[in-house]
Assembly symmetry: C2
Homo-oligomer: 375 residues x 2
């Protein structure tokens, strides 16, 4: 054992790092059994604390050139005859989950300006989502003030993962600003598990299980918004739950209404049954569409949630689980209901911004493709 | 300012406690506005870190003398003609949540012996739940070995709150023992929020909201048990979800089956669609019964979850939200389905213990009230 001439003694260093690369042939790869290599590539869970992500990365539709606006318009918007598209830029919707509050708020602002430049200025068919840092309510309100009057900005957008359940009064200044500016409060799954454990009890161990559990977060936020009296405090607020499913809504409303009968003295700020707040203030998007083995059950479920007034079409372009507006719904879906889902309910939801846009189109039909049917 | 003759200097003590009683007239009570006194009495949330409990305490049915076995038998078991009653002693089902592992395991053992003495030895109409400390799998297995062959012990009982989702392999030795002893693994809500936050995101602020969110925990555990392959590893294991509702099961199965089509390569240990594991291995109890405003929706929902093979009656005696077997179900519930719910499904679930009991009754009809209809 050598001893440095500079040292009075031999030395033991008790914390020295070396960093084998997980994937490289010089690193861990040769030490990982072949069967596990595939599994690890599929599960993407190779780093401690890694979140949940799709096994093939962010899989995109193979039938789209999603890398350019022109490809998007040709392969999606024009192919399906979509009159208005509500843009949900990624990853800006998840900026609320960045721990550095100032960076996150700045990035939201940058993302919103990018959206205006690249989509809203391109065509009035593009409607915008203002991404805000939910973890900085004062900063979020400033961003809503700055962009909320833009004629195509129809909503703010927040991730399902959050510091608190969204009924918490920490967020109420944001809802006050939304209601005042006629902006919908939209939720989208976003990095569930990055702050909390993504379920009530603990962390799922696979992307599959995590993805199956996402509706639970939406159930919790919906229950919280109702139970905390957000819709009594902000009667003008509307909420849109995107990509969280809708089959869970009926049993949630049943349970809340039943418990309200027994426990209303404990929530005296609620003046109506929970389901009536939900029916008036909450809408949901269709993708990923519920697909029971018996399609009749999907139609029953739509009836149970009053889909004619609650459900709005969404494609989730260009993701792996994209829904086609002409193929996603059961063939026996009543045509009137389908019209409400594809057009009517979102028209109602975004009416404060859509009515002026539709008036402009009536004055100049060339301004926007499609037929005006706003009632 | 005084100075002790024993001290070389004057003294400042920077941490001295005083303890006003919340309720007493000498304590905080006179300082709390009248309107809040009622609210605090109702919400029971007066201590930091306090859990969620019913505003009127553990409200019991007013029509029962629940304080004695004789009252219980007169006012519940005999009144409704209940042939077998599966006893779920409280608070022993929550002992898993005691942080001291040795105390918790000992208390489970004590609670189980109490149950044998007070109910199982009294009559074969009482079936038992072995309460185990889920936080001590080795201790839980010892308790299952000790009592699992008791002819009336039909299941083990664990709370919804847990250190891990119940699919986690930490618990697998318990499931191995259950399957070997033909004991059902039964879950019941129990102190959700005492270890985790009781929802995916954060803590509800009211008992009302907390109670409405309980099904989310059951959804998470069900998804975990399936996704982690517990039913492939222990094909003899059956799970009973008590008091967590059942309306959520259909959309959970739909979502899991749909995702399984896209993601089965990431869960190669699953050889069947998630819903087929659920239909074969999971049953649910009815109380608190789902009560949609349109009773036809309840019957539709029962069809969606194949209630004729999954749903078992439970009263939740003697709690505030008790269900009467003759009044809880929609009047148009098909009689065959009602027979499956009140009797048949639980007979199937507990068949390994019920068949010998029924044979004993056939040999000596006086041994147990009621009519034998086990097929």
């Amino acid at each position: 054992m050598s001893q440095s001439p500079k040292s009075p003694t031999r030395i033991i260093d008790c914390d020295v790092h070396c960093n084998p690369n997980f994937e490289s042939p010089e690193g861990l790869r040769p030490y990982i059994p072949e069967s596990y290599r595939t599994a690890m590539e599929l599960s993407m869970g190779t780093r401690p604390g890694h979140g949940y992500s799709h096994p093939n990365g962010r899989v995109q539709r193979p039938d789209c050139d999603y890398r350019s606006v022109e490809g998007f318009e040709r392969d999606h918007i024009d192919r399906y005859g979509i009159t208005y598209a509500v843009m949900q830029p990624q990853p800006t919707m998840d900026f609320s989950l960045i721990h550095n509050i100032d960076i996150a708020t700045m990035l939201c602002r940058a993302g919103n300006d990018w959206l205006v430049d690249h989509y809203l200025n391109r065509s009035p068919r593009y409607l915008g989502s203002i991404c805000v840092n939910m973890n900085d309510p004062a900063g979020a309100v400033r961003e809503i003030e700055r962009l909320g009057d833009h004629p195509q900005m129809v909503q703010i957008l927040a991730p399902g993962e959050a510091s608190f359940l969204y009924g918490h009064r920490f967020y109420h200044p944001i809802y006050e600003a939304c209601a005042r500016k006629h902006l919908v409060f939209a939720l989208h799954p976003g990095a569930e598990g990055s702050l909390n454990s993504s379920t009530s009890v603990g962390r799922p161990s696979s992307y599959f299980e995590w993805h199956c559990s996402l509706p639970q977060t939406f159930m919790a936020h919906t229950g919280s918004l109702v139970a905390e009296g957000v819709f009594e405090k902000f009667p003008g607020l509307s909420v849109l739950l995107t990509e969280g499913g809708y089959g869970w809504l009926a049993p949630l409303m049943w349970r809340m209404d039943k418990n309200f009968k027994a426990l209303r003295a404990t929530v005296p700020w609620l003046r109506e049954a929970p389901s009536s707040y939900i029916r008036r203030h909450v809408k949901l998007t269709t993708q990923p569409i519920e697909e029971p083995s018996d399609p009749a059950h999907a139609i029953m479920m739509m009836e149970m949630i009053d889909a004619a007034n609650t459900l709005c079409f969404s494609s989730d372009y260009p993701h792996w689980d994209f829904d086609d507006p002409f193929r996603a719904f059961p063939s026996r879906t009543p045509p009137d209901l389908l019209e409400r889902i594809l057009w009517g309910n979102a028209c109602d939801l975004y009416r404060h911004k859509l009515e002026p846009l539709e008036r402009a189109r009536a004055a100049d039909p060339a301004s926007l493709p499609g037929t005006s049917v706003v009632s």
